[in-house]
């Protein structure tokens, strides 16, 4: 096999090389496969001024905001994934500018997805949900051209179209990858396929590194071919506490714990000390979580593919 191998980096190296202060950064996942380990490492390295794009923000974006890493956020939903618990840091930032103000731009999930699809294809726009009359259509913060309206040459009602979105960098959690960078995901995909293709540079954070022949055995599962991928990180449990289909379940208790601790700024700082700074690395985080809990969360007790 003659394929070009990709650099396999540690999470620390990947963040150091690819995520300088001020970086525009799309984080993959849609309340599952959220690459939370990446957010933790960004927080550990003290990045500032990031321009974050995330379809469903969840705990990951809440932590980046609470830790003061993000200056700007494009998203369609920010909440603790588990039920009625809010994303407290997000709320504090928007309602009280604590710890710092953050600029926010919003689209619906459909429109954000179509913006990424337009970006992936280099289309000048994509048709999307009508959206006129909604707040996302009216309110424009740092992306004034996000939405527009055209007349169809074929007649009919006005057509709302969304601008292409081509993030400067994407970091995505995937299930497995080979040394060439061919990345595979099981289960539902949300916007994953075209969001990956929309990013100008792409880093994948995989649960496991597998032989090329394993990838070739299920070629339908490949969501990014090697030639879209710039670097690979192998980091098991990188999506915890969100779920990783076929690998581990959503950690409801940890979502609740985080929801409770992040209720206050002090509590959030304690969470960071205990779970982010104190753990030093993601494997440290997983050790802190504990073997017993890890075993409980595993979807299957041994790999099955």
């Amino acid at each position: 096999m003659n394929v070009r191998e990709k650099p396999i980096l540690t999470l620390q190296e990947a963040v150091r090389r690819f995520v300088p202060d001020g970086q525009e950064l799309l984080l993959g996942g849609f309340a599952f496969s959220d690459p939370t380990a990446v957010a933790h490492e960004i927080i550990r390295q003290g990045r500032r001024g990031l321009r974050v794009i995330k379809s469903s923000g969840g705990v990951l974006v809440d932590q980046l905001i609470g830790a003061g890493c993000a200056a700007q956020l494009l998203s369609c939903h920010i909440w603790n994934s588990v039920g009625p618990v809010p994303a407290h840091c997000f709320r504090r930032a928007i309602e009280r500018e604590r710890p710092a103000p953050i600029a926010i731009e919003e689209l619906s999930y459909g429109a954000l997805s179509m913006a990424l699809l337009a970006g992936a294809c280099d289309f000048p726009f994509m048709p999307t949900t009508p959206l006129q009359g909604t707040g996302h259509f009216t309110e424009r913060t740092f992306w004034p051209d996000k939405l527009g309206v055209v007349r169809s040459p074929f007649g009919g009602e006005p057509v709302t179209v969304v601008s292409p979105l081509k993030p400067e960098l994407g970091i995505f959690h995937v299930h497995r990858v080979d040394r060439a960078g061919n990345a595979q995901v099981f289960g539902p995909l949300g916007e994953t396929r075209f969001a990956m293709a929309a990013c100008r540079r792409l880093v994948v954070v995989a649960e496991e590194l597998v032989d090329a022949d394993v990838i070739r055995g299920r070629p339908e599962l490949t969501v990014a071919p090697s030639f879209l991928v710039d670097a690979v990180v192998i980091e098991p449990w990188a999506a915890h506490p969100s779920d990783s289909y076929g690998y581990y379940y959503r950690d409801l208790a940890h979502h609740a714990l985080y929801g409770e601790m992040s209720r206050t700024e002090d509590g959030f700082q304690r969470y960071l000390e205990e779970w982010v700074f104190g753990t030093q690395t993601h494997s440290g985080f997983i050790r802190t979580l504990g073997d017993a809990r890890v075993r409980e969360l595993m979807t299957r007790k041994e790999p099955w593919w």
Partner: protein, 208 residues
């Protein structure tokens, strides 16, 4: 709220879902209502979620949200949002849509974004997710709210996250929303509400 009133709310919502329909359900109570419906009178419903999951049977566990992937266990199809939001919901393949409406005005406009002004709100809420698509594209739209608080039913929402009839029934067609979309019913713990020809909500039935 007393338990029996809440149960009545859940049950009324669930009973609005006929058996053997394709239902698109959003976060929170809609998911629970679909599950209740499946256990009671509608075992043959097919539930689709915005992330691309097709759920056609009672999953072993109750998912805490559409992206809690216990919802995907035993799914006959795992696709993506392009399929779910546009090929199934937008193209009218979904027969019924259920969306939570924690703050909703008389035209059925739902706010899950901000209370107060946009850039310095009194309360910041999660935002749209796929809710905008459910309300914009979904056929047979059922809104559900567990609230009986007056503040949950303002005259006009501060922010239209998921559009109802906007400022009146004509607005939707004029702005490119498809015929057959738009809220049909609101269910809350007090009763059931429908929308008249001008797109204004009226009381259709009160719980006893």
């Amino acid at each position: 709220m007393d338990a029996s009133r809440f149960e009545r709310f859940l049950l009324t919502g669930a009973r609005c879902i006929p058996d053997a329909t394709v239902v698109f359900v959003g976060f929170h109570w809609p998911m629970l209502m679909a599950r209740v419906a499946r256990r009671l009178h509608a075992p043959g419903i097919i539930v689709v979620y915005e992330n691309g999951i097709v759920e056609d049977h009672l999953t072993a566990l109750l998912p805490t949200s559409p992206c809690d992937l216990v919802a995907a266990e035993g799914a006959p199809m795992c696709a993506g949002c392009f399929e779910s939001l546009y090929m199934w919901l937008g193209a009218g393949r979904v027969e019924m849509t259920v969306l939570e409406a924690p703050i909703v005005d008389r035209h059925g406009n739902v706010n899950t974004s901000v209370v107060g002004t946009y850039h310095r709100p009194k309360v910041r809420l999660p935002g749209s997710g796929g809710g905008t698509e459910l309300a914009s594209l979904g056929r047979g739209l059922l809104l559900v709210s567990a609230s009986t608080d007056r503040r949950s039913y303002p005259e006009r929402v501060d922010y239209v996250t998921s559009p109802g009839y906007l400022e009146g029934a004509d607005d939707r067609e004029r702005l490119g929303y498809k015929p057959g979309s738009g809220p049909q019913i609101l269910v809350n713990p007090l009763g059931m509400f429908r929308f008249d020809g001008r797109g204004e909500m009226y009381t259709a039935a009160l719980h006893p």
